[in-house]
């Protein structure tokens, strides 16, 4: 079977059913000991970026300047952090749009960027590693990032480990939404859902 599906829609039909009884908050992702947290965030709209709840839009095809629609979460400085969320690119006439970043605030800036190319290839902007081909228009894709500050940053796509990256120390924060990369441009619309954070 070809390991790629460019579009996965009909999400309302496949989410949220309760077949077995277990508290949702006790879901373990990677070894246990996680504590659920709710970091604060600010909304960033630059250029033609527009944020409406968890829907993020770039409305222009401008291939320069700061074009972004994002949520920027609170800074953390140590320990191990986990982010979980699902995104669906509902339209992408442009290309190379960053979807999720782990930002090295006290270092060189965007330390890890998950982006999508036209056609659906998910890739890590730094290094260009292909992470998955399941990210195109319409696809619902789940992302988990586990960040051991000072040791390692791991990215899981739909539960599978796709990227491992050594991590320096310092201060970091999570961002997600739709953001034009240096070589990319909109228009794009990205819908996020199921955002959760843990620490330990």
């Amino acid at each position: 079977m070809h390991a790629r599906l460019r579009t996965l829609v009909v999400t309302t039909a496949v989410c949220g059913s309760s077949l077995l009884a277990a508290p949702h908050a006790l879901a373990e992702v990677e070894p246990g000991g996680w504590q659920s947290v709710s970091p604060t965030h600010t909304v960033q709209e630059r250029g033609c970026g527009q944020v409406d709840g968890l829907t993020f839009r770039l409305t222009c095809s401008t291939a320069s300047g700061d074009q972004r629609a994002e949520r920027r979460y609170a800074t953390y400085t140590g320990g191990t952090r986990q982010f979980e969320g699902s995104f669906r690119v509902t339209s992408l006439s442009g290309t190379r749009i960053s979807l999720k970043q782990t930002f090295h605030e006290s270092g060189s800036g965007p330390y890890f960027m998950l982006a999508v190319e036209r056609g659906g290839r998910l890739y890590a902007v730094h290094g260009g590693a292909t992470l998955s081909t399941a990210g195109t228009v319409g696809a619902t894709v789940r992302v988990n990032t586990v960040h051991e500050v000072g040791r390692e940053h791991r990215t899981y796509i739909n539960g599978s480990l796709k990227h491992t990256y050594a991590s320096p120390g310092g201060s970091f924060y999570d961002k997600f939404g739709a953001y034009r990369t240096n070589s990319g441009s909109g228009p794009a619309t990205v819908e996020w859902s199921g955002i959760r954070f843990w620490r330990k």
Binding site: T7, V9, C15, T140
Partner: protein
């Protein structure tokens, strides 16, 4: 590059695809086996199942890491696919899986032979407004319910936009679909497999192909989602 319109392949191809379901003697349904999961390494899970029901066109495989969900679709799998490996999983994490059947008829196929090479810089920078799935404006013909009869999509057309780009349009003949599947059969490949899943009422979409898809046949299936299987759960190791 000038756009080229490709029409549906001769009906004989469609008939050949449909013949297994039209034999004079109704085939005995194959036995069904419930969804099973096995931890084949500490972080790899193999799933397998069989479904002998002749009207089932395929399954949606879903996973979650909490038994109450939310579930995420891993892949739409054609009827002939009965195994799936979920690899390199999060350690010490419980994974829950279930299958959902889908049904529905497919259009006549259309063959597309893309030009060799990659898109030019001009191609890359050209507007790709043909790419997003959409419901084209304009009058509609009569539509029929999939759940009570056949309403296969009609008039599938493919226009080559550049060396990796194809624009598909079709006529939506169904009134109650949960969505559409764009299916591909690569030259030299076996059966058709889903390559894109589209919302209800969509009748136009673009596709950016991968390198092994220069020569392929495509068709569009209207689908309705059906019953779900039981859930199976496994916990990964270190």
């Amino acid at each position: 590059m000038p756009a080229r319109t490709l029409r549906a392949a001769p009906a004989v191809l469609f008939l050949a695809l449909a013949l297994p379901a039209c034999s004079a003697t109704a085939p005995t349904p194959a036995p069904s086996q419930p969804l099973r999961a096995a931890l084949v390494t500490p972080t790899d899970i193999d799933l397998n199942w069989t479904d002998g029901r002749p009207d089932v066109a395929g399954h949606v495989l879903e996973f979650a890491t909490a038994e109450t969900g939310p579930y995420t679709p891993l892949q739409y799998l054609a009827r002939h696919v009965t195994t799936y490996r979920h690899p390199d999983l999060m350690p010490h994490t419980t994974f829950v899986y279930r299958l959902r059947a889908y049904r529905g008829p497919a259009s006549a196929p259309v063959r597309v032979d893309l030009p060799p090479g990659k898109p030019t810089a001009a191609d890359e920078n050209s507007p790709h407004d043909w790419l997003p799935p959409r419901d084209r404006p304009g009058p509609r013909g009569a539509r029929h319910a999939l759940r009570t009869g056949s309403a296969a999509p009609g008039e599938l057309r493919a226009v080559i936009k550049h060396a990796n780009g194809i624009h598909f349009t079709w006529r939506d003949n169904s009134s109650d679909e949960d969505g559409f599947l764009l299916e591909i059969r690569r030259t030299g490949g076996g059966a058709y497999e889903p390559v894109a899943v589209l919302d209800p009422d969509v009748d136009s979409t673009g596709l950016i192909t991968l390198p092994d898809e220069k020569h392929a046949s495509y068709r569009v299936r209207a689908l309705v989602l059906g019953e779900r299987s039981q859930a199976v759960r496994l916990t990964t190791g270190e």
